[in-house]
């Protein structure tokens, strides 16, 4: 079949609906098959390219599965100690106030060891963007319970399911930061279906736009999966996410800016 048509016949400009963004490097992603990280990386890369932000952007990477974030995006990056990304970003943005600064953090990094840095940066209203990947598990260290592991959910350190009486309750950091006066835009999205990917990109573009206004911290949670840690196939993981994670972490905006500056349309010509 493929021989009959030939690959050259397929690669024609009119067939290229999906092109490579030059902000992604040629490094091969180390993520497991089906993992949401690659999708979120790509969304960020596309927005940085489309908004012309490469020379303005400084990213702060976490400790966790996405520790090598800086291998994949062709932008200046700093690698933070576990949980400290918002502290780094605070200084970067205050010393270089014209730049676009964001942190990329997982649930262990942001909601366990980095709770203090996260809450205080958001409460001070630091003018950077926090991207929070929540898959309810410690992926890099092999699938241990996270602060966001939902009740009853199994992990290697909650092998019979999370017993909240024994292990405490999951922490809804996004709900917490939405209550703080320093945050400007707080939203929860997912990338488990193409429609959600588009919605996430739209939300992310808004967050990047709002960031330029210097009116407070923007916070985008992405409820994601972990096929390896959850011991599921990618398809099962996305189904499990929809049936179990989303009822606990409902998608949508938690805080939207109401002032005039935020009402201007965000790049209306861009079609996400």
């Amino acid at each position: 079949m493929a021989e009959a048509t030939g690959i050259k016949d397929i690669i024609k400009p009119e067939n290229l609906a999906y092109k490579r963004t030059k902000i992604m490097t040629d490094n091969i992603l180390h993520y497991c098959p089906g993992c949401g990280h690659g999708t979120v990386h790509r969304i960020l890369a596309e927005i940085i390219e489309e908004e012309g932000l490469q020379s303005e952007t400084i990213a702060v990477c976490p400790v966790g599965c996405s520790v090598f974030f800086y291998h994949y995006l062709d932008i200046d990056c700093q690698e933070a100690a576990h949980g400290r990304a918002p502290a780094l970003a605070t200084a970067i943005k205050r010393l270089l106030p014209e730049k676009f600064v964001f942190t990329y953090q997982g649930d262990g990094d942001l909601a366990a060891i980095g709770t203090s840095e996260t809450i205080h940066a958001c409460n001070r209203g630091e003018n950077f963007l926090i991207i929070f990947i929540n898959n309810g598990i410690y992926g890099m260290t092999g699938g241990q319970m996270a602060p966001t592991t939902i009740p009853g959910m199994r992990s290697s350190t909650s092998p019979y399911g999370r017993d909240v009486k024994l292990m405490g309750n999951p922490l809804k950091m996004t709900d917490i930061v939405a209550t703080l006066p320093g945050t400007y835009y707080v939203t929860r999205q997912s990338v488990h279906t193409p429609a959600n990917v588009r919605r996430t990109k739209k939300a992310m573009r808004k967050a990047v736009h709002y960031q330029k206004l210097n009116k407070g911290t923007c916070f985008v949670e992405i409820v994601s999966n972990c096929p390896s840690g959850w011991k599921m196939t990618p398809v099962q993981a996305n189904k499990w996410l929809e049936e179990n994670m989303l009822p606990f972490y409902p998608l949508g905006d938690l805080k939207v800016p109401e002032d005039e500056a935020a009402q201007k349309p965000v790049n209306p010509e861009k079609n996400d």
Partner: protein, 356 residues
Amino acid sequence: MEKELRLMKGNEAVAEAAIRAGADGYFGYPITPQSEILEYLMEASPWKTTGMVVLQAESEVAAINMVYGGAACGKKVMTTSSSPGISLKQEGISYIAGSELPCLIVNVVRGGPGLGTIQPSQSDYFQAVKGGGHGDYHLIVLAPASVQEMADFVGLGFDLAFKYRNPVMILSDGAIGQMMEKVWLGPQKERSKTVPEWATTGKPPTRERNIITSLDLDPARQEVFVRKLVAKYDEIREKEVRCEEFQCDDAEYLLVAYGTSARVCQKSVQLGRAGGLKVGLLRPITLFPFPLKQINKLADRVKIILSVEMSAGQMIEDVQLAVNGKVPVYHFGRMGGMIPSPDEVLEHLKSKIIGG
């Protein structure tokens, strides 16, 4: 603004010197006995004049990581704290050393361990000089013995930090931080506009992206990196040793002391000499690199060496390494926030060591 003579606390001198040195940012958290530094800076409000950023962080941990973030942008940034707070900063300091970032850290030491006391001590010597955080690294450690040096070492510290892309610590103590002396302050320097080639400031099309990290999972490459650090420390050992000799030329008995202890011992030397005892003092100004050669040379001429510290005996290990068995090395120390008197040091030397 020209040079100016002021009467100041050591802590205030650090703050004023930081502004005048053209520092870009200060990130700190209150702790006794060094809170005057943050207080002075907030009152001086240098963001209105030089543009220097000053921020009270939510913890020492956050403060040192703010320093990391600022240093990685190529900025002249600093933090200050006292012993328990410096312990909290050790993780960040290790990352800063492992990412080869320049910065200035001031430790106004108080007595430990634990919460200990708020009185002056020198019991953080090991932590400052031998590592403190995890991994194979060194700080450049400067030990001021006066309010003047508290001020002078801020500029010197930044210069060394940028020269070697290495964190520098000023190892002071609660006495130097709290006491008032006259101090000459240098003129206001402009904040630097040059951006180091390695700094993360946003990738222009003209260069590759800059990545600041201390991570390399490949042990062979990580070893190459640590060897590079070792070579840097060797160069620092070769070029940056600073120390001061006081009445050492004809000394038979040598005191080795830094910081507040050196101030005390200077008087002990004078008292000893007035009584006919040929005592001298070597004051290390850099604790890393330590004046090994200088002490080793003096060990050829003196009978006995006494390491005087406000600790249970930490620097004495470096003095012994320097002396390499040539003459006996003893320790005299006060602990827990106590400061020895000049008479006490001299009496110990005379009765317990020479006479004992």
